[in-house]
Structures are given as C-alpha cells and as structure tokens.
Subunit: 314 residues, 6 copies
C-alpha cells in the first residue's frame, strides 16, 4: 500500500493525489499573490505554498478539489511543509473521490452505529428510550458522518459518532463503580449531547459553523428538539425536563456556553466524561507525533500546555 | 385614606390587616421556638417576630394568610421592625382579599396591556408581528400579573409587564436617535425577552423558582417556544432565528446565563436597555427611602454599592 | 461630485489627492525598505505599500502631507489595499488643504455647538450652569474639533462634540422616562465628561496621546479643572463635589480607569449613556461596511465580537 | 440492631452512648456560657446545645469523650438538632470504645489493603513498583485508617484508602479504553498521590491540619519522600522524576495548590480521576439524605450548587 | 504605672476609666435592647456588652464619652470580652481627657515632624522641594494627628505621620542600593501620597470617611492640590506632572483605586514601599498578640491569611 | 578599549568577533532559507539576518560558536539590527573564548561570594547557619555563574549570585527598620530561595529549562534538598520546616508557582524583597537604553507597561 502524506519524512519526494481542504490567498512582500493550501489524504494533512499565482489558478484550486501534486517535504520553522514542483487538477478519468481523502474515525461507521443501537436497546426507562431513539433515527444519517468539532478534538469524518461511543463505554465502567447512577439517563444524555452539531456544523467537508450554529448553538438547538419530540410522541414527565437539563448543562459553566451548570448527578458525570474523552483524544494524537523523550507542540485547548512523552514503559 | 405599613414611623402604633408573605421558624437561645414573619400591604413590607410560639401557631400563621395585627414600629439595628402586641387570623366576615395586600406596579394592568398592543399593532414586518402576537396572546393572562423577579428589581405584581413597557418606551427614543436600528426586531425582542418568567416563577404570590425554572431557565424556554410557534404558524426565514438569538443573548455573557453573546445590533441594544431599566428601578426605590444628604443601604445587584442622594435640586 | 476613496470597489482605479495620516517603515524579506502608508480623504482611509523606497522618499512622505496617487484597489487577505502605480507630493498650486482630507462628524460644527449651548441655556441650577458654561467657553475652540478617541469610536474631526451631543439627546429621552433624574446634573456631566480629551489627545491631525494624557489622563484632569473653576467663580456647595464625582466615575470601574465607581444615580446613568453611544457608533460603522447576510470584521472594543447583519427589514 | 443517630426522625427520642467529636463554648445573649457539641456514632453526627454550663462541665465534655445522652431530635432552621434532657460521661464499666463511634469506610480495611496490594503486585515496571511498594509499606499503618480530608469528601476512618482503591478501579476501566496509557505509572501515582495526608492531617480522631501540613502540605512532602526513597533504594531514571511530577501536579492548577500543571498524559488523567471520585462521593452522600423530587443542601466544594434528585428511575 | 486594658488577662478584674469609641444598639433574642461598646485606652481596645439598657442609657453612652467601668475580662469564642459589673459616666472632676485614651503612634509627634522636615531640607530639586514644603505646611496640623486609615494598618493617632516617616527611612536604604533612583522625587511622593487623608477621613476620633472622601477620594484630591499649588507658586515643568502621576498611581492598579498604573520608576518603588510598610505594620501587631508556636487570627487585608509565629529565635 | 556591540549607533560599522547565542532558520517569502542570529559580546546583543543560506551555513553557524562579522547597524521597525557584509567562523588562532562574550554581572564573582559568606558567618542560629552553609557549599560552583532566569531579569552570567547579594543588602536595611524580623531566617531564605535554579536551568551558555526544571521546578527541588540536608546533618526542629516554607512560598501565589502562600512574617518579606530587586533590575536596564523625555519599550514581565524617563534631575 502506498505511503500517506503524513508518513513522509523531511526530504522525501511526494507524487500523489491530494484533496484541497483549505485555500487562502496572500500577497508576498514582492507584491505578487500566492496561495496557502492545506492538502490532505486519509493519513493527515500538510501545508503547501503556491507562489506567483494567476487569477485562473485562484479560481481553480479551491477547497473540495482533488489535485495531483509532485514536490518534496521540507522543514519550515520546525513544521513540515510541502514544496510544490507541479500541481494540476486530477482528471475525471483518474477516478478520485473527495470523500476518500478525508481523515476519518479509526472504526467503521456501521459497526459503531450498531453498538450505539445496543446501548439504546438496553435502556429500561421507556420514556428516555423512545425520546432518544426518535432523535437518533431523525439525525442518523448526518450524525454518522459528522465531525465532533472544526478543530481541537475528533475533527474528522464520523468523529462525533466515535466520540459518543467512546463516552458510552467510559460511562458503562463508571456506572459499575457508582451504582447509584441512573444509566439510562446518562446514556441518553451522552447520545444526544452533541447531536445538534449536525446543524451547528456544515458537515464533514470544509467544515465550518452555520448561521444557526453561530447565533443559536448546538446546546440550545438540542434542548428545543427534545421538547418538540416529547410533544410529538406525547411523552410527559420529569424525564423530558431532566434530559433537556443534561444537554443544557454539559459544558458545565456559563463562560463555556452552558446556560445552566449541572444540577443533577448524571449531568455532572456527563460533563466529566465528555472532558476526559476530548482530552485523551487530543493528547493521544499529539503524543503519537512526538518521539519519546520530547515535548509535544503546545495544545491550544489544553491551556496551551506542551506535554512530555517519557522514555520508559511499563 | 388609611396609612400603609410603609408610612409608619419608628414609635408609631399599628392596628390593621396585613398579609403574611413569608414565615420562618427559629429557636431562640433559650431553646424556645419563634416565627420570623414578613407581613405586607400595598405600601410595602415589614419584619415581625413572634416569640414563644405553639405548634398550633406554626400551622396557622403561614404565607398567604391575612392576619390582624396590633403592635408598634421599633428600630432594630437600623431597620424598622414591628413589635407585636396581638396577632390573629382575619375573620372571613372582615372581607380581606390576599391579592389586595401585594405591592404592585404603579400603573393599571389593562392600560399597560393596551399600550403593549399598540407597539405590536405598529410593527411592519409581518413575520415578527405574527410570532410576537401569537406568544403574547398565549401567555397574556399570566404575563399581565407576573413579577419580573423574586427580588432585586420589579419584584411586584405586574412587574414584568411594567418592565417591558418601560423598555419599549426607552427603545422608541433610542431608535429615533439611531435610525439604523430595526424597530420591529427590537420591540419583538423586548416583549418576549422575559416572557418565560411566567413558567420560571411560581406567580405573584410567595414567588419562587419552579423546577423547570431551575433546570432549564426562562432564556432557553422562550427560545424553544419561538421555534415551536414558528412551526405552528408556518413562518420561515431568518426572522425566527434572529429573534431566538435576541432572547438567548439578552443576559449578554455566559456567566450571566446567556449561551451566546449578542451578535446582532438589536441584541446588543436589547441587553443595554434591559440593564438601564433594571438599574433605574433599583435605584429609584432605594433613593425614595433615603433622605437627601445620606447614602442608601447597599444594593446587592449593583455590586453592593451604596448610593448618595444629593441635597441640591435642578 | 467625485467618488471618495471609501466608495471604490476592488478592481477600480484611483486617481486623486489623498492625505498621509500615518507612515511606517519596514524591511521586506529581500532586505529592502518599504513604507506602509495610511492615506485618507473625507470618505475614509485605505492602506498602501510603497516598495523599494529611497531615504529621500522616507523624508518626503510623512504624516500630514497631501500626495497625488494613481493606482488601483485590490483585495489583500480580505481587506482592501491600494496598489500604487504612481505617487508624488501635491504641488502648492493644486490648492489642497490637509484639513479637507480628514474624516469628520456627519453634522456641522457650528450647528452642533449651538445645540449644546441650548442645553446649557435650559439649565435651572445656577451653580451647575455657571461651572459648565465656564469650562465650555474655556475649551470651546479645541473641543469643537477634537476627536473623541484615537481609535475605536468617534475618532474623527469634531467626534467629541458629536458624541456629546448624541449623549445629550439620549439623556433627554431617558430623563423623560425616569423623572426622578436631575437633568441639570446629568447634562453638566455629559458636557464635561470627556472635555479634557482636548489635553489628553494631540488634536485632530495624526492624533496621539500627550505626556499628560499618558501620566494623568482626562478623567483626573477634568476633576481638577472643576475644582479650580469653582474656586475662580467662588461657587461652593455639594454641586461641585458631585459633578467631580460624575467625571471621576464615568468609566464605572477601576480596571477601566475610574478611581471611584458611580455612587450617585446620575453618575450611573451617565456611564450607561456613554456606553450606548460608543457602542452604537462602532456597530453602525462596522455594519455600514458589511453586506446583508454577512458578519462584520471583529470589533476590538466589543470583546472582539463579529456581528451579523440580517437580510430582512422592518 | 439498634438505630444509629442518623436514622432518628424529627420528634423521636434518643437514649444511647455517643462520642463527642467537637465542643465549642459560647456565651448566650443572657450572658451565660453554653457548649455546642457535635456528637457522633457510626451512622453519622448531630449537633446538640448544652445551656448554662459550669466550668466543670466545660472541662468534662471534651472531644474524644464518650457520653450517654437522653433527649429528642427537633428541627432547627431546617436542620436536625438534638435537645438534651440528660448527659453524663459513659462509665468505664459500660465498655464503650471511642473508635467504635467514628464513621468509617463502607468496606473493611484489610480487604481494601489486600486489593491495593494486588495492584502493586501486577506492576510490570520494576522501578515504579519498588518505589511505590516501599512508600506503601512505610506508611501502611497510618494510611489504612487516615481520612482523605477534614471535610467535604471521604472525611471518615479509612477514607483515604477507600478513595485510593476507588480511583484504582476507575483507572483500570479507563486504561482499557485508552490503551496508550502507562498503567504502572498511573497506578503508582494514584497510590501515592494523597499518601502524605498521613502527615498533613492529625489522624482519624478530631482530625485537623498539622503544622507541617499547613506550612508544607502533602503535595510537597510526598514529592520529597519519593526523591529520598529513590536514593535509599538506589533507583535512578526518569521514572522517579515523572512520578514526582504526577504528585506535584495532581491538583492541576496553581490556585488549587499544585506548583506545576500536568505535563504528562498520566498526570492529566490522574487529576481527572481524583476529581470524579471526590465529586461522586460528595454527591452520593448528599443525595442519600435527600428525598426524590427535592434538592440537596448546597455542596460547598462543588461551587455551592444544590442538586436535584429526580423522581423517576431506570 | 497602671496596667492598660490590653494587658489584662482572661479572668482579671478591671477598674478604670475608658473611652467609648463605638456604640451599637442591638435587640437580644428575648426582645430587650442592648449596647455593644468598644472601649479603649492607650494600650488597645476591648468589646463590652451592656444588657437590658434603657433609652436613657442609649443617649448617655455614646462615642467620644469617657466612662468609669468595673468588670472582668472573660473569653468569648476565642476573643477577650469585658463583662461589666458597673458603668457610669466619668465625672468632670475626674479630669479625664478623651484624647488621652486613644492609641497613638509609638513615637512623639514633634520628633517625627522634625525628621520629615529634615528630608524636605535635604532635597536638591528646588521645584519639588517648594511644592512639597508648601503642601506640608498647609496640612501640617491635621497631618500630624491623622490616622492612616480607619482600620487594617496605622489606624491610630499620628498613624499617617508614622507611616510616612517609616517609608522615608525605607526609601533612603533602597535608594542607596539603586543609585539611579531620583531621591527627591521619591521623597516628595512619599510625603504627599496619603496627605489628602486629612480630608478623606474625619480625624483621629471616631474616624470615618467624609462625603468627599467617598465621592472623590484622597488620590484625586491630592493630585488636584498639587496642580493648584503649582499655579499658586508659579512652578512649571515636568516635575509637577510627574509628581501628580506618583500620587495617582500609588495604589498601582485600577481595581485598587489608581486611575493610572505606575509609569515612572519612582512611582513603582513608591507603591512597593507603601506595600511593605503597611504589611509589616499589620503583621507586627498581629504577631505581638500571638504566643510563639501559634497562628495569628486571620488578617483581613492580607488575603485573610493567618500567620505562624515560630518558636525559635536567631 | 574597543567599543562593544551595544555602544554602536545606527549607521555605524561593525568589525569584530561576536558569539552566536541563538540561531533560528526561516524561509523567506521567495522560498529561500535564512538564519536569524542573535550575536553577543559583553556589552549586549543584537539581531542579524543571514539571507540565502546553504545547508553548510546552517550546520556551521550554531549557538556557542564565535564568529567574525563585518557589517553595519541599521534601524528596523524601531529596533537596532545588524546588516551583515561578511561573516566567518573565528579561527582557532584568534584566541577567542566563548565565555568572554557573555554579558555578566557588574561585580566580580569572588568578591560577591565573599560577601555572601560574610552574611553566613554573621548568623546566630546554629541550625539555620549549618543548613544554609551546607547547601551553599554543595552548589557553590554552579551557583556562582548561573543566571537567575532565561529572560526578563538577571539573565546573565552570575546573575543569580548578583540577585541574591542585592537582596541580602536590601534585607539588612529593612531588618533595621523592623527589628522584630528574624534576620537569620530571612538571610537563609534569601540565599537558598533560587539556588535550585542551578538544576532548573542548563547553565550560563544558551540557557534553557532542563527536564526536571520543567516537571519539578526549582521551588520543589530546594524544599526537598533542605529536608535531605537536615537528615544528613541530623538537624531537627522547627527551623527546617519553616525554612522549607520560605522556599515554597516565595512566589507568593499558587498561580505564580508557589504551593503555599507566605504564612510566616519572614516569608512575606522575602517575597517582597525578591519582587523589588527583580523589578528594579528590569527597570534600570530598560531605562538605561532610553533617552530622557521618552518611554521605554514595553516590559513584558511588568504587565507590558512602558515607562517614562523624566527630563529633570535631583
């Protein structure tokens, strides 16, 4: 199998198709325009500069386009950068599909959906089960491919589903340790907590915030959807209210976007599990790229800390 | 007309019916139980202690009951307190109605509703007008008597309506000064911004937070109601989304309960007008009770500041 | 009438006189010096780069100079930039006057002064009136042309006067809504609150902070001037003290530069009105430059927020 | 079996031996001295007031003494309080042992020690194992009975051991979910993280901070002990350094007492697990005392939040 | 010489004249009024309660009155309290003078004034010298008796003068260490920095904030006085401006009351010296009252810290 | 004597040996690599750019190398920059020694060590003296050349020793002013407070943080060393504990890296003296480079403030 873009060392040559994920125009200090491209395949992404571009180039090399590139990898201020020797649009006959170039979750979509379904199936409380199943079915298609964020953690195809499943598994272990937890409520909260990201974000390709994402946000959206679903399914009772609360409070603090802090035990633990899975995802990926005995680059969403990778093992 | 409880000076005798707004049991340092009552008539409220109570007294003197009191007003650590000489339940033949004892807005309910209706009538944008009118009709009954809060500002019968009308009048003047403002959007935001307080609070008598008030809050509730109303009325378009945003952002900051900061001009000004009216209400009432040349008591919701009342006039 | 620099679209040619407001030398990555110019006419300003300059150019193209430019407007990282084809000093025979190139308030200076005078004339409290009139006369000349700031809001010729008049008009409406406010005190506070900016800032051309502006600040300066004026006019009484307090507290918090928080009702409302007018000025100008359906650039002095301009109207 | 003090309802009589945990003298408003006692048995504790005490009483009823009490439970401002009818020192013939009256962990000491030993036994990395075992042996006696804190969470006999074991079990599940974690390092960090509480606190009876607890703190003490132990055992290598780092950083932030933030993956997860177990312990105990459908008292160490106990079950 | 009130141990009898510094009425839980008195002599102060007072007592025992007390010192919640056996107004024939009962600085007023004068005399810069001398003369009388604060530090007769002199001596040593410091500027800043406390506070007896103290504050007052004095003395030049800056910035931060942070080297060091002397004064007095081997009470103005007094000596 | 690099004015030619302190590779916007060098001699340092470098250049011009440079000093955005005309490695025959090029303390190492020894010699408390002398001897070699930091203050050869001696001298003056201070304890704390910087930093050349510096920090290291030394010397008693506390608390706050705030008088004053000496060092150096009548560049570690240098003198 061919080496992905992320496996190329400094100094190696590149000769392959890549997807343009981002393209930004700049003006060099000689007054000439250039493009800063972020190109990607399943293995990861790399930056490339196109110097002295024409207006035609600018129109051609846009996000979502697959291009064929030859060049080599060089070091620029401690980061890898791709020096272009040639770049052209991939031809239709080359049978390249943009979706095949996006990084995605390490597990298969259908297998993961199946596992979430099992958690749904095991719920005892009929109201929580019906509400959660209803919303899961409603958004299943988008939910199964959406990233969990535009950056920082789980920002890949099916990242949201992968994040939710990882949280469910953590929750199962924690609920065994603290049997007073209401597992149904916790599982329902986990499955729905970020589900409105399918409306907040524009989807897996060139992901950005939608207008309603910016003005309303996934937290308020999902709370409204639960209220509406309860009416549609004629479900009444405290379950509806408390489940909405879990969604509204899952960022824990006002300054992090939650209009209410957790005021129910399962709301508190939902926030803590979300936090663990996001941090472990960021740390694992940063440390994978770091040799033992060195520090990672600064991790923005972890207070700009740089983590050390020890040289010893178990 | 008879003097209200708030007009009695230190040393004067009291002989009148009063409503028990609050009653809290304590144990004196001699081991005997007592009640701390807050009793009220339209003019204001006063604290009274009932020493050495029986279990029977405890069951009888509960919030919402009208009692006949004789006693006199004395000074206790700089605050007025009512020393009881006698207290009994008012008899049914005395024709006292609890509602008649609650402080309420300085203007008539119907007159205020009429003025809000006029603002609704003058709206040009049909979508905003229909949405706002629909929710106004839905909650009109509770809205017209609800306080705006349990304490701090506008915490009296029809306080919410009085607050909204005052904000509409401020908005009218400000919109003349800055003609770029969308008046319809601003008026709709003002009328709806606190409307879900009718669900968040338990009503004008013995006002407290409801369960959904504590777990969801009036901000998220009203955003959901707008979304639902738009579906019911088949209204589509950015108006719905932006109006929801005005509601969600009207507390301005996450730490003050808003999941989004204002990101639309009218959302910003809605917050500023809300702020002005709440502060002027708190200040006016604190200064009314303060002689010229002195400082008010500390005002909790204004950073515990104590304000000076100058001795000169215009 | 000729199109101003602010009305030129991307791609259009420019051929006109412009005033150099700012000039900053840089070294390009090829080691050669260049100038970053900000050039302006009444309609607004634009950035232009002069590449490969000589020492002679550096001495010639300085702030306050009028130049004749031909070039065209291009897009640079989402901002308009002027590409120079030719630039020369405007000749004396071309009759260009630097003052004619500075952006200024949308209303005439004399008309605005007249209106402020009317507010002064209407005051009832003789002490406040005499104090305010005295200081207004003393600084009238500089006050009538000073900007209100070096950036962010009202940073144009007569910006300070325009800001004060706008605040007076807001105050008039608000005082009708809350009749307990002392209008004379409030108007006096508004007229004087920023008046020492005539000492804090260096004037309308190439505006910067003076030494006393940096070490003392306009808040402390004006408080001292009121004290001194009262002695000169033999005015005694609480009016002097309270008016000083309004000036000292108008930034509301210590971290925003006020040595005292507002402790008088009119001081509180003065701060709130100042806040509204500054924010509306920033928002109006940012939204004017933004098409409907898009977000403004980030506004620094409003917590870096980017505002949305809705597509619907009243 | 006899009912414990925590199972008595308001209005019920008490007739039993209890341990004085705390005794504080006060002066009543009639000028006479009284004692506020906190008395306890295994089930929990209750407050009692002794009015009108003599100097002799003051000397007799001190912390650590077992007394025989008859009285009844009454309500005082929403909290249970014990009204004394009679109180006397328990006689030596009554065979009461202070230790038998202290609340303690829900599991047996030896069984828990055994389980921790098993975690030690399973470690692969010889250096971490030897270091941890050495310190575990050194403090085993005190460690097995120490509370984890003076208040808030795990503040009972063997609370520290119970807390550590609960964290080890959580860690096991989490390490299965994230196989990149170094289990040995994480287990060593958990076992040692709070071990110096045996020096910081004065032990299980009448627990208070020691002088070195106040001036040095358990975090710095244990870091020093690891350094010293490594020298004693001639252990060198990064394990020592990194293990010290886990201890130093386990409170995560400077303002919470850690001189370094977590900079190693296992340090981060150690902090998160510590946080989960402390919060679940606080929540479980507060909710146990709360009927379904009501809110708990405010929990000091969880931002003073009051949590709701839902009425529905799985 | 007779023992002062501060030298009496728990259990000892008191029989002496004392000054009432403060008197506050309360209502006991039996409904009867009482007075909380703070009585003082030069050695310190103590609290005393007068139970069951008459209206006549209330009028008689007011701040500023000297009384003759017999009673004994007892312990109340860890603080000393005076139990009254008898209290009466001191008769005119007893020749007691209120001033003789106030705690005051440990050094004589005239001797301290003389030393400050010496610092003035040694100044080289004529402008700074004349300005400082002028203001020193103007306020010398009040300055020489004023406390430096109402509580926390140097809150005794001549406390301000004592504080200033202590700072001058510190400054002398520090200026030797850092010869780049401008001693004249620093000394002038120290002498004037708190001088307007003579206007901010009401004087040494029953010290409280004046109206201008609350609304303007000593920082702004002294800056204005320097400006005015410079005009009166026809002194021009940067000295005036920079000296004003030292005054304005001596609280270092906006949230601590300074409208400008220190922007001149001597302003920075003035703040640091002020800080040292205030803290050492608070610490010395708290530690004097604390036996070796114990902790002081919490010191409010030092982040509520409680300090340990070691048992060893040099 | 030849002029140092810091004494060269804009426009002057440079022809001398310099030490490379730092070298960072960049890519110019024309795609070609360049080096940003920081070169230094005893007088100070300057930045230089090497354009269009080869791989060979990159390997040759590394930190720690002495080079011979000819070029001239030019202005780049308000900072001095060295334009290279020629650069080559200094030949071994030229007898240049890297140590001779590093900026160092203004006083001689041996003389300073001697003075610190005198402070040690004068101590009265034998335990504190033995502990301090032991650790001083142990680290004397590294201590005498170590910088006190990598940047901000005292970041030069022997900077740590110079800082400690300056603090001792300040302490001597302050202890005379406040005789209640325990001089021995304070001197011991000063001598040891930063001593573990010899382990935290990599030494005087190309100073950076070591691994244990990053993960443990000098504060925790020195506390452990004191504990260990006390065992080694069989010193017992509160002196050990309190001295550790001085080290642990000398950064004063958790967010500044101290696990405990100062809780002993000498700990508080140690922090204040440390603060004064660091700030005076930063200010003195920034002001030395600034002409009278101008402001310094922003000083990072003093809240980014820019300080004014007055034009008048004593």
């Amino acid at each position: 199998m061919k080496k992905g873009i992320d496996q190329h060392q400094i100094g190696e040559s590149v000769e392959q198709h890549l997807l343009i994920k981002n393209a930004k125009k700049g003006i060099a200090s000689n007054g000439k325009p250039f493009l800063t491209l972020h190109v990607t395949d399943k293995s990861g992404e790399i930056e490339a500069k196109m110097w002295g571009i024409s207006a035609d180039d600018e129109a051609k090399f846009v996000p979502g386009t697959v291009v064929h590139i030859s060049g080599d990898v060089q070091d620029f201020r401690g980061m890898r950068q791709l020096r272009l020797k040639a770049i052209r649009l991939s031809a239709s006959g080359e049978q390249v599909n943009p979706e095949d170039f996006l990084p995605s979750a390490p597990r298969g979509r259908d297998e993961m959906l199946e596992e979430v379904n099992q958690y749904l199936f095991d719920m005892q409380n009929a109201k929580l089960q019906r509400l959660t199943r209803h919303l899961f079915k409603k958004h299943q298609q988008a939910f199964s491919v959406s990233p969990a964020a535009t950056k920082n953690h789980h920002e890949f195809v099916s990242g949201l589903l992968y994040h939710v499943l990882s949280m469910l598994e953590l929750a199962k272990g924690i609920a065994m340790q603290y049997p007073s937890l209401n597992k149904d409520l916790l599982y329902a909260g986990i499955i729905l907590h970020d589900m409105a990201k399918v409306r907040e974000l524009s989807g897996p390709m060139a992901t950005q915030y939608t207008l309603e994402g910016k003005l309303i946000g996934h937290i308020s959206m999902m709370s409204s959807e639960i209220e509406e679903a309860a009416k549609e399914l004629s479900i009444e009772g405290e379950e509806v209210l408390v489940l909405q609360h879990l969604i509204l409070s899952h960022h824990a603090k006002g300054e992090w976007g939650s209009p209410k802090p957790p005021l129910v035990r399962e709301a508190e633990i939902l926030h803590l599990i979300d936090n663990i899975d996001a941090k472990m995802n960021m740390l694992d990926r940063a440390l994978e790229r770091t040799p033992a005995g060195e520090f990672t680059e600064r991790i923005f969403a972890m207070d700009q800390r740089s983590f050390y990778k020890p040289t010893f093992t178990e």
